[in-house]
């Protein structure tokens, strides 16, 4: 069941233990625990306001939890910041809302961590070059109109998404978080995106894939975690259920807040659904 340890797969990459988080008296997350293993794609599902974004922002260091522990590769990390999380290999694709529209592509790629030479002066030449290479190789931008100096306003929705994804990929991430990556994408662009997530898995890296669209999540995730009103309502390997059953689980969680094992005619010995492991589908 456990993949070979030698490749590093199956190793726990990130673990959250009993995370609580409130904003101004509103408890957004309560007692949230989950693990993400290396080489695993975890689908995070939940309604608006379920706490998905907050959970992600805790893993990426944007917010600090009120209580609970965060462990990277088995070691607790206290006072996680965005910089620290990046150093630990966490990259996030925040879709186009995390792009600066009036700025050039190279400034967007290097947002928050410009390459500098001395005293904080930028190595613009190197950043333009890296951006041009990424545009050609990873983004597939072949239009002659687009250069590293093009402003984001000149890009289509799909091109912007590509830019946001490539930005995360460039920095050698071990854990890639995709926050609603398919929003606003055409069918073709979505296929490309899902192929890209498969690529993460093939490279032995892990990903957390957040999406409203259960079809997208089902297609790529090894494991699905369902958040409901700030707590984890279900956590199961994707391969255990059919797409229809997962849809039913989601509907049940939305209605009752509880995980109910789908009727299937086979014995459902009431297994705790939180025993998900790094099984591959």
């Amino acid at each position: 069941m456990e993949p070979a340890e030698a490749t590093g797969r199956g190793r726990v990459s990130v673990e959250l233990r009993h995370i609580d988080k409130s904003f101004g008296g509103v408890q957004v997350l309560r007692d949230v625990s989950f693990t993400l293993r290396a080489g695993e794609v975890l689908g995070l599902l939940g309604d608006n306001g379920a706490g998905k974004s907050t959970l992600i922002k805790i893993v990426t260091g944007v917010h600090q939890p009120d209580s609970g522990q965060i462990l990277f590769n088995g070691e607790e990390v206290r006072g996680l910041t965005v910089d620290r999380a990046r150093a630990l290999g966490v990259e996030t694709v925040y879709q186009e809302r995390a792009l600066a529209e009036q700025l050039s592509l190279w400034r967007n790629i290097f947002m928050g961590r410009p390459r500098t030479r001395w005293l904080g002066f930028l190595d613009v030449r190197a950043m333009r070059k890296v951006t041009a290479d990424l545009m050609g190789e990873s983004m597939g931008f072949t239009s002659a109109v687009l250069t590293p100096d093009t402003h984001v306003t000149g890009l289509s929705g799909g091109e912007r998404q590509g830019l946001a994804i490539v930005r995360a990929l460039h920095f050698e991430a071990d854990i890639i978080i995709l926050d609603e990556p398919s929003m606003g994408l055409s069918l073709k662009e979505t296929d490309k995106l899902l192929g890209f997530v498969e690529g993460i898995k093939a490279a032995g890296k892990s990903a957390i894939f957040i999406d409203h669209n259960i079809f997208h999540v089902y297609a790529v995730a090894d494991r699905i975690v369902v958040l409901d009103r700030g707590r984890i309502a279900a956590d199961f390997p994707t391969s255990r259920y059919t797409l229809e059953e997962v849809t039913g689980i989601m509907r049940e969680v939305a209605a009752s807040g509880n995980f109910v094992e789908p009727e299937r005619g086979r014995a459902t010995n009431g297994v705790s659904a939180t025993e998900g492991t790094g099984e591959t589908s």
């Binding site: 922002k57 990426t60 260091g61 944007v62 910041t81 965005v82 910089d83 990046r86 996030t92 925040y94 809302r97 995390a98 792009l99 600066a100 529209e101 009036q102 700025l103 400034r107 290097f110 947002m111 928050g112 961590r113 410009p114 500098t116 904080g120 002066f121 930028l122 613009v124 333009r128 070059k129 951006t131 041009a132 290479d133 002659a144 109109v145 250069t147 590293p148 100096d149 093009t150 402003h151 306003t153 000149g154």
Partner: protein
């Protein structure tokens, strides 16, 4: 495909591929403002040739325009990062209180200049810390500190002026208000500060982060940009530039009066916006502010030289400012989409 075309293609592989569109998007604003400036100046020369074809008017521009152009340059960075500073006009005076205190007790003009710049930096620091620490919009905070700093200035010197005649013999005077190859040092400093501002805004981490903060604050937060630290630094720079301008102007006229700087609020802001900097943040040009300052500085002299009744000065001011910002708006909508 000829060899020449192939070479041209490969040499631009990671550089820029100039098409009319990308070229326009990057430079439209700056070309537009430069063109407007040249046009305006041609009009001045043809309407008042005796004034505008002789050097005294240019010496005068080179001395007096920097008094508001210096803070305007640094203000450009503050506005690019999504903030504003209205208190800089009062920092001229507050910084000069420090200058006078040191100069009158110690007699060392160089030390007095340092004291003034230090006070300017501190005043900027207070702005930045209040704005970022309490999360109050900079517009509101700096309206408050504009009164505060001016009030402190008036209270500390009991509203009195100070003659600074003796300071004219100092090396500091030569360095700030003397001549270099016949060029007024005020202008030399303005060019140096403009180059420094350009480097900070486009070639330094500070400007890189400032651009993102002004364009998309939530993104800056998600990407781990040190938002407060960056904004505070930019306020500090405006304070230092205002202090320097205050010292230059006071030394030039050998007099410190506590209302110094008051008249520069609108000219400096006009220079920034005429120059094409976006009031919404995320976009601005140092060159535009530089040119914009000389447009604003030139208008008044030109109107007087052309023999227009003084009552019309503000009408023409307003007209030129509106024309300039309209040109930017049109160019932007033409090239950015």
């Amino acid at each position: 495909m000829t060899e020449a075309v192939k070479n041209a293609e490969s040499s631009t592989a990671f550089g820029r591929r100039w098409t009319a569109r990308t070229f326009g998007a990057r430079w439209a604003s700056q070309i537009g403002i430069t063109f407007a400036f040249v046009l305006m100046w041609v009009a001045f020369i043809s309407l008042a040739p005796t004034t505008f074809l002789h050097s005294p008017i240019y010496v005068s521009f080179a001395q007096t325009t920097p008094y508001f152009a210096l803070p305007a340059l640094l203000l450009t960075m503050v506005i690019v990062s999504g903030d504003i500073d209205l208190s800089f006009v009062s920092i001229y005076g507050l910084a000069m209180v420090g200058f006078v205190a040191v100069e009158k007790t110690n007699g060392n003009v160089g030390l007095a200049v340092l004291a003034a710049v230090l006070i300017g930096a501190l005043a900027g620091l207070v702005n930045g810390v209040i704005v970022t620490g309490l999360g109050i919009p900079a517009l509101v905070v700096t309206i408050g500190t504009q009164y505060l700093y001016r009030g402190l200035t008036l209270a500390l010197v009991s509203g009195k002026s100070y003659a600074l005649v003796e300071a004219q013999d100092s090396a500091a005077y030569q360095l700030l208000d003397g001549r270099f190859l016949g060029i007024p040092m005020q202008f030399v400093w303005l060019v140096l500060v403009a180059v420094g501002t350009w480097l900070l805004l486009y070639r330094h981490r500070l400007g890189h982060n400032g651009h993102v903060i002004g364009d998309n604050r939530p993104a800056a937060e998600l990407m781990g940009i040190p938002i407060s630290r960056t904004r505070i630094w930019l306020f500090v720079f405006v304070g230092m530039a205002s202090a320097l301008a205050g010292v230059m102007q006071s030394l030039q006229v050998s007099n410190f009066y506590p209302q110094i700087g008051n008249a520069y609020l609108l000219p400096a802001l006009a220079a920034v916006f005429v120059g094409g900097t976006s009031v919404f943040g995320g976009r601005g040009t140092v060159w535009g502010t530089f040119i914009g300052a000389f447009m604003i500085g030139g208008i008044q002299a030109a109107i007087v030289a052309m023999g227009v009744e003084a009552y019309w000065i503000q009408v023409i001011y307003g007209g030129i400012i509106l024309l300039a910002v309209s040109i930017h708006a049109v160019l932007l909508s033409r090239f950015e989409r």
